[in-house]
Symmetry: C2
Subunit: 405 residues, 2 copies
DNA sequence: GTATTATACTCGGTCTACGAGTAAAATAAC
DNA sequence: GTTATTTTACTCGTAGACCGAGTATAATAC
């Protein structure tokens, strides 16, 4: 039968090392409730496979035989992460633990063909350089992603773009994941950011509009078609306001750049992300003592109240242990936390107010989608299946020495 | 290490039989991707343990050695389910597959002490009658449940009531689960109702207010504190309307009995559930051709639009494969489907409209919480741990014959 | 009757993890 | 300095679950 087991001890150890590089053997043994014998076997096997390395730890002064620290192997598995932003693209290669080995960032002109051609070339080059060490690729896009296609990316002006050209399938069938930037950002916060270790978190990612994700034990809720997390299209707004999505009263109509422009009696901006950033900067400037009051501040405060109320509604419905605000949401808390928090508390059901889920700024800024993409790529690698594939790739050269001629 | 495996083959077979009693051995073998040898071993073991029974199947006329059908064992494990409703309580005992062996329903006077005393006595009696065959108990309450306590149950007038008195812990530590009726109703629909087999469903359960749950692969999303699913307290309503929960603009303020009374310029009803039912009945009556138009119909239609719009918002955010409407929601679709569906479609993001998640009436009516409670109780039983407990309980009498004197 | 087909059963082998016992490498006590 | 204590690592026999190849069984088809 197709392997009915959960993560084997080997995968559990790899995941523990990925989550916390440098974790000590003895600590991992306890945390995973393993017997010391199993740890010995497992670590020996994983080291032999080139999956992790052991290092001595500096003496602690405590009694007992010293343990060792577990870290990524210098020739161990890697993942590639690609982030297509509204002005630049980024590529990174990361090893176990999430630390990067390579990183490139370039501006682009939003032409899908052009961008994908350049990125495909970069990925080919990485493939040549790292070979089979690259075990998975994740691509983040600021838009709606269905399978490997970008259905719609408003801020890029893309629609129905096939991303699978970036990573031709090879015999190894290495995982290729495409996803929404807000979802990846949420994963980043849940695994390594403000919500690290949380069982159930909600991330609200505010850039042009509002996106995000529910993340349970580090796994994002992707929905039936992979398009969950469009929180900006819940009817938390004014029912009279039409939204670009075709509905009315979407939360986004109280938050996104076009909404801010409307409230400021300005024409709809061409680049909403940059526009919102400017308005936020202006609002922030008027906070400086003695600075003249500006209309931008009042608008940002209105947005803040809307975000607070909506966050409370999500807390009521989903009962998360924590909510994080990313992207411009971090600035929002900074500039108008005095509006966000009261609105949040007021929107919570009475019984939730005694210990409300913390509403915190995200830990990551612009790196969030990249970190999340790396995490998701590793999630696809650190499985029993991934372990099998890695082992079988290495088996041919298991006997060290020159290849026979 | 503490058993790292997923459900063993034995548990997988038990779950398959529970899901589909009478499933054929050969079909189960294929469905679970088992080898025939493993099936032989597993079925023999489970039959021997008194967990399931084999029956010949009527000849199909097809070639090949005939298979057998798998069903619950006549002395196999049972669960008890208790449903406390706003006017009556119910208790049922069910065997593998969910079919009932016993069922009682009685009216009550909403006095917590009185109700719990009677229910505890009934459960003691069931315990005497069925002994250790009862492996778990689930209790459904129309209110907010934290652990084993009812935090608040508005329609019962209960607050801070401890349910654990119903089921004293014994050595076996048999699972005792308390939960919200809407959550159990959602599970019922997801496992055996309109959304049977769905990967990701959202259930909206409308009784006094709106509750429900997101159910993924049959498992309800309970939230960090077990109080997820309070969809009625998302701000989908008029921001000016105060809600009993302490917030403003809750969806409930457009839907619940008090809201309906307000819209009809009537005083707030004492029993909202009954009141809403009456209004719905009046609205339904005015649909009969030739009947005089009634204000109730317009109000129910307004409620319908609100439900449709909100359901769309949830679909946008959560991307379910199906949404079901239970409780009064079934009547709502019946009476005012012409308002629900257009509002639902209009509220969906453009790209979801080409194949929107079906919005269907629930399959179960008043039985939904009972069926869901039985399902959840069995979920707690059909695990490796549950299997171990059952086996160890039987081990003493493993050698058939009279007990030694 | 014999062939074909679908299913069930048998049994040796593998893999994972347990658990009890032993060894190693540090500090603490005398 | 030697011995005791503590913590961790390693060894090895055993148990359990499942695979997989081969065999047996019970039906229909020819």
């Amino acid at each position: 039968m197709t392997d009915r087991r959960r993560a084997s001890a080997a995968v559990a150890v790899l995941r523990a090392v990925h989550r916390q590089p440098g974790i000590e053997r003895a600590a991992a043994t306890r945390k995973l409730a393993m017997t010391s014998g199993l740890t010995t076997e497992t670590v020996a096997r994983l080291s032999g496979l080139g999956l992790l390395s052991e290092h001595p730890v500096p003496p602690t002064g405590a009694r007992g035989r010293p343990t060792t620290a577990l870290g990524p192997h210098p020739r161990g598995p890697l993942v590639a992460a690609v982030v297509i932003g509204h002005e630049t693209w980024r590529i990174a290669v990361a090893q176990l633990g999430g630390t990067g080995l390579a990183h490139t960032q370039r501006p682009h002109r939003r032409d899908p063909g052009e961008v994908l051609t350049v990125l495909a070339a970069r990925l080919r080059s990485l493939r040549r350089r790292y070979g089979l060490r690259i075990r998975a690729v994740a691509v983040s896009v600021p838009g709606t992603v269905h399978g490997n296609r970008v259905a719609q990316a408003a801020n890029l002006g893309w629609s129905d773009v096939d991303l699978s050209v970036l990573w031709p399938r090879d015999r190894g069938a290495r995982p290729f994941l495409a996803g929404n930037d807000a979802t990846f950002a949420a994963v980043a916060e849940a695994r390594r950011g403000s919500a690290a270790g949380s069982e159930l978190m909600v991330h609200l990612f505010m850039e042009a509009g509002l996106g995000g994700a529910v993340v349970e034990d580090g796994r994002p809720a992707l929905g039936a078609t992979g398009t969950a997390g469009e929180f900006g299209h819940m009817p938390f707004g004014d029912p009279a306001q039409p939204c670009r999505c075709g509905a009315r009263g979407c939360w986004n109509t109280a938050i996104e750049g076009a909404a801010i422009a409307r409230m400021l009696n300005q024409p709809p901006p061409a680049d909403e992300v940059s526009y919102s950033r400017q308005v936020f900067a202006a609002a922030r400037a008027s906070l400086i003592p003695g600075a003249p009051p500006r209309a931008e501040l009042a608008v940002v405060q209105a947005v803040a109240r809307s975000v607070g109320t909506g966050a409370a509604g999500l807390a009521n419905a989903l009962d998360p242990s924590i909510i994080t605000l990313g992207g411009l949401g971090r600035d929002l808390l900074d500039i108008a936390g005095g509006q966000v928090y009261p609105a949040y508390l007021a929107g919570l059901m009475q019984f939730r107010r005694t210990s409300p889920p913390p509403l915190l700024p995200a830990h990551f800024g612009g790196d969030a989608p990249l970190v999340g993409a790396i995490e998701e790529a590793f999630s696809a690698v650190l499985t029993d299946e991934g372990l099998r594939t890695w082992s079988s790739n290495r088996r041919p050269r298991s006997r060290p020495g020159r290849p026979k001629t």
